[in-house]
């Protein structure tokens, strides 16, 4: 389990990394925390000619809040986001999601951007980005562009980042006032890739009815799966057990998860319904109509 030969360059500045990408393009691979890439190299499943190490670019490691939007630099370690009070104040779902992500040692090294760019639909951060409607800023030598989560995740392990581009930042818009947020998953062992999972945001209107519910299922499709039919079903409804159960059923009915040695499709589908209902129930319990929230403040 030794990697095939490769050249290694440690980038000293994001612009240098972009230069290197522009030159090496398809032949190169960005190395950040390395928690997915290094095993792939050692199994010789990935064989880049050049490895461009951006893991120590301090310019890309930050968490801040501007105009209500949470901005996370791509090389921010997952553990930093997990512990960020700024993040948990407005987006408690993030820390919940990262709590499921592998193990503390891995989260200390693994980066937020690395996991998002890896685009594994069984991973927590892509699902969190989907349900929180994050926007990803990517750059190449010729400029920057912003991509919505819906467009960012293309298929299994494939994002919309081009070969000469690099992920710079994940921007998460403010969650609606009083919205309940929940993230649940189930895996064979603590820290394993999920057999199923669901992330939910439930905003309520002044009458306590669902207004703009978002549901994303994990491991349900080649990309984090926004269950839009189920979301619509809840629009304008009171979030009672019956309505939530119907939504969970609708969400699971839309998916056909892939079978593997750890679980067949029908099991995963049923599990998705169970977990979706659990996430909806938790989020609904936390949700408050917006005016109540203001009074609370």
């Amino acid at each position: 389990m030794k990697p095939a030969p490769f050249d290694y360059v440690r980038a000293t500045h994001p612009d240098q990394a972009l230069e290197l990408l522009a030159t090496a393009g398809d032949e190169s691979k960005l190395l950040a925390g390395g928690q997915s890439l290094i095993p792939m190299l050692n199994f010789r499943l990935a064989r880049p000619a050049v490895l461009i190490d951006i893991g120590r670019l301090g310019e890309l490691s930050y968490i801040n809040r501007q105009d209500g939007t949470l901005r996370i630099g791509a090389t921010t370690r997952q553990a930093q986001l997990e512990r960020s009070k700024l993040a948990s104040a407005g987006w408690p779902l993030l820390a919940r999601a990262i709590g499921w992500l592998a193990h503390p040692q891995i989260r200390s090294v693994g980066t937020v951007g690395g996991s998002v760019a890896h685009a594994d639909p069984a991973a927590e951060l892509p699902v969190a980005c989907s349900v929180l409607e994050a926007r990803m800023t990517v750059a190449s030598r010729s400029g920057k562009r912003e991509i919505s989560a819906d467009d960012f995740f293309v298929t299994h392990l494939t994002s919309a980042i081009e070969a000469d581009e690099m992920l710079l930042e994940i921007a998460i818009p403010a969650a609606p006032d009083g919205a309940g947020q929940s993230f649940v998953e189930y895996s064979r062992r603590h820290g394993d890739f999920a057999l199923g999972g669901a992330a939910v945001v439930i905003p309520l209107d002044a009458q306590g009815r669902c207004a703009g519910v978002r549901i994303t299922l994990m491991t349900a499709a080649p990309v984090p799966w926004r269950a839009r039919t189920a979301e619509k079903l809840l629009e304008g409804e009171l979030p009672g057990a019956q309505q939530l159960a119907a939504a969970a059923k609708a969400a699971a009915s839309e998916i056909s998860p892939t079978s593997d040695i750890h679980g067949g499709s029908s099991y995963r589908k049923a599990l998705a319904q169970t977990l979706c209902f659990q996430a909806l129930t938790e989020a609904a319990a936390m949700a408050t109509p917006p005016d109540v929230t203001r009074v609370g403040k």
């Binding site: 389990m1 030794k2 990697p3 010789r44 064979r188 057999l195 750890h262 067949g264 169970t274 659990q278």
Partner: protein
């Protein structure tokens, strides 16, 4: 004088090994890097079954940094011969295996060529350049498919795919089945597992300058046995090869066998005159070493209307993979012999067949044979209880071998030594509050959880048996141990034994045994040297099957007693008392009101200056021990589980283990052995499974997919000890390394049946969440 030291045996003294291991100062094979080392990498077959038409190594050899690339014919030219299987059974089709594949590959991961290079990176690069020409053949991926008369034969010369067959017991009386009030006929299956020691296999062989000798550091459980088997396959006299076991990171049976990779590493070091190092990586360990446990049972049970079992008969099909490893079909044989478990069953007939399949060869794994048998018989007991509408403990009680029936000769020829099986059951029932379970089930129900409780009783042959009996069974080694104790002039003792330690704390327990006999401090005055085929006394079989505590422990005790006798003689002369009046304690020889430091006696013995008449100089004694029989630790475990119906997830909410391993040398080490074995048992029940697809491609080649339990998945294990000393072993010790691994799977299976009602799938391991989810649907009549 300070207060008397407590006896060492029975105390949880801190392990003597721990300071170096916990500081990261252990010395493992991989830690050694002699200059000029060549790194070995094995090129492994990519398909499950096929004719190997040609191997072209030219491009690989041409890569800079590559020293050699060799195939099996190259090894033969150097003088290597096939590797002997250690345990052969009557009419076994093959008794030796090729070092590398020659004309056919029979499993994904079979080694075909070896690359030696200046670094492992270069060696692996070169491995990719070895060109294999293969003609695929149909893959046989299960034991039942292998015995189909139309199945492709793995070995064209054989009549079928059966490697060997062994019948345990005698012909079961058919009348018993025809006339019995109750008969059961059930199938059980156990999945493929991998022993998965933390350190994979490893070998470093160094040619000794100025001679043809080779010294090899090998991650093995048995240094002497390894030296004999490796030297033979290299075509060398045993004296040419010295095998040393440095620190070893777990073995669990995998490392009791000698593998072709060990042989080739030694052979090539001798041939090229340079150090050769082979460190197995995890992927290689999961595909290229050995798997274990996979078998299928088909059993009939006859019982009377009171639940007394009259007879057992059945078949055991054991999936051997592509060829045998060290113990041949040994695990199938032991499983057949132990099907009767702790029960008095007069008539048993089990036909065990080891069949070849296109999968990684099957090898030894902790307790082999025992867990396979325990799963079947303990499920059968619960099914019998269900049929009779009796509590499961009641059926066990009615069938246990009773305390006054020991030594008990089982129908399959095992002689159980001692114990009180019912006492273990009663203690387990009491500690688990079995009687109060229904209330806990109701509480769980209110939370939407399905709760169940299950038990399993077991007995485990441990420490092998007498060497002569083993000869009759066909093994290539006996069961004796020799221990030498040497004293230095300062009164400290060095204990030498050929066994090794894979983390069990063998240095500590041997020091404890000797400390009490010699009146020394085990932590400061005794050092223990292990595992060197030329510098430590002969060990027939090394650290397997709890042999160290039982056999080496007894030999150490006997050697220490002989040394003590000599010290008593010298002390008697010094103090003018009778030798029998001298007691060794607190590093002193004491008699009447007088005392002499042991150091003074040692100095006298070693210098020969002041010895009493008739006492020879020198202070070194050896003793050899060969047990009359093995030992039979036993117990009962109770598992209480909760199932979350939406996911099929099982949480073990309580786990109680009652165990009798006789006298405990070091209770903390004993508990560690039990907890570790139970963790592996739980892993086998709920998580671990080596999976293959229909083409024989392995699907679990990393620890992402082969799910070992971690601390998060293992509940607190509540342990209770009983103590029935082994009546026939000096020191009264019984084995403990394996006894914990038998009960977890059947106890959890029985708990599942208790929670959900009986479902066929409860007879087939493992119980993954999707399987449990399906069970719930089956129990509810869905799907």
């Amino acid at each position: 004088m300070s207060a008397h030291r407590d006896r060492a045996v029975g105390r949880s003294i801190a392990r003597l090994e721990d300071p170096r291991l916990l500081r990261g100062e252990g010395n493992f094979v991989a830690d050694q890097n002699p200059t000029g080392t060549l790194h070995a990498h094995f090129v492994r077959g990519p398909i499950a079954h096929g004719n190997l038409v040609n191997v072209n190594c030219e491009r690989a050899i041409a890569l800079p940094g590559v020293h050699a690339v060799l195939t099996v014919s190259d090894l033969a030219q150097i003088g290597a011969i096939p590797l002997k299987v250690g345990w052969n059974h009557p009419d076994q089709q093959i008794t030796e295996t090729e070092l590398l594949a020659s004309d056919r590959v029979r499993w994904v991961g079979q080694a075909i060529a070896v690359v030696l290079a200046d670094s492992l990176y270069i060696a692996e690069d070169a491995g990719e350049l070895v060109e294999l020409e293969l003609e695929p053949l149909p893959a046989i991926t299960s034991a039942s498919a292998a015995i189909d008369p139309d199945a492709t034969k793995l070995y064209p010369d054989w009549p079928d795919n059966v490697l060997a067959e062994y019948t345990a017991g005698d012909v079961a009386n058919p009348g018993l089945f025809a006339e019995a009030a109750i008969t059961l006929h059930e199938q059980f299956s156990i999945q493929r597992l991998a022993a998965s020691p933390l350190e994979g296999r490893a070998a470093l062989a160094v040619a000794q300058p100025g001679s043809d000798r080779v010294t090899a550091w090998i991650s093995t459980q048995a240094a002497h046995h390894a030296s004999e088997v490796i030297a033979e396959a290299c075509g060398w006299p045993t004296s040419r090869l010295r095998v040393i076991t440095p620190d070893v990171g777990g073995g669990f049976g995998l490392k009791e066998a000698v593998f072709a990779e060990d042989v080739i590493t030694c052979l090539l070091a001798g041939h090229f005159g340079r150090p050769v190092k082979w460190i197995e990586d995890r992927r290689e360990n999961l595909i290229g070493s050995a798997h274990c446990r996979q078998c299928e049972w088909d059993i009939e049970l006859a019982a009377d209307q009171d639940g007394r079992i009259l007879a057992l008969r059945g078949d055991l099909l054991y999936d051997m993979g592509g060829e045998p490893t060290g113990v041949g079909i040994g695990f199938a044989r032991v499983a057949a012999e132990m099907l009767g478990g702790p029960y008095r069953i007069e008539s048993v007939e089990v036909k065990a067949r080891g069949v070849v399949t296109n999968k990684t060869p099957a090898g030894a794994y902790r307790g082999y044979g025992g867990p396979e048998a325990a799963f079947a018989i303990e499920r059968l007991i619960d099914l019998l209880a269900l049929r009779l509408n009796l509590p499961p403990h009641e059926v066990r009680r009615r069938n246990f071998v009773q305390p006054d029936q020991f030594p008990y000769s089982s129908a399959s020829g095992m002689v159980y030594d001692s114990g009180n099986y019912e006492e273990a059951l009663d203690l387990a029932l009491a500690r688990s509050d079995f009687a109060g379970f229904e209330r806990r089930r109701e509480e769980a129900q209110k939370l939407g959880l399905l709760r169940g409780i299950g038990m399993a009783s077991f007995v485990k042959p441990s420490g092998l048996t007498n060497s002569r009996i083993m000869a009759g069974a066909g093994t290539d080694h006996g069961n004796s141990e020799t221990v030498t104790i040497r004293m230095t002039a300062d009164g400290a003792a060095t204990v030498l034994s050929g066994v090794s330690s894979q983390g069990q704390g063998h240095e500590t327990i041997l020091a404890q045994v000797c400390a009490d006999v010699l009146g020394l401090d085990p932590e400061r005055e005794i050092s223990v040297l292990l595992g060197d085929s030329q510098m430590t006394p002969y060990s027939s079989a090394g650290a397997i099957n709890s042999r160290v505590a039982i056999i080496a422990g007894a030999a150490a005790r006997l050697a220490a007693e002989e040394l003590r006798a000599k010290l008593q003689l010298i002390a008697a002369g010094f103090m003018d008392v009778a030798p029998t009046a001298v007691v060794l304690a607190d590093s002193q020889a004491v008699a009447g009101g007088k005392s002499v430091p042991i150091a003074q006696l040692a100095k006298a013995a070693l210098t020969g200056f002041e010895l009493p008449d008739g006492v020879e100089p020198g202070l070194e004694q050896s003793a050899t021990y060969d047990p009359p029989n093995g030992t039979f630790p036993y117990g009962t475990h109770v598992a209480e589980i909760e199932i979350e119906p939406g996911s099929g997830a099982i949480e073990i909410v309580r786990y109680i283990a009652v165990n009798d391993s006789g006298i405990l040398l070091n209770p903390a080490i004993v508990n560690g052995q039990l907890i570790g074995a139970i963790a592996q048992g739980i892993g086998g029940a709920l998580l671990e499974e080596i999976a293959y697809d229909s083409n024989g491609q392995i699907q679990t080649a990393s620890l992402m997919d082969y799910l070992l339990p971690t601390a998060c998945e293992i509940p607190r294990i509540e342990i209770e000890h009983l103590c029935t000393p082994a009546p026939h072993i000096p020191g009264g010790v019984k084995g403990v390394g394996e006894s914990g691994i038998l009960a977890p799977a059947p106890a959890i299976a029985n708990a599942l049946a208790n929670a959900l009602g009986p479902v066929e799938a409860q007879n087939h391991l493992p119980f993954s969440p999707p399987v449990v989810w399906e069970m719930i649907r089956a129990a509810d009549g869905i799907g």
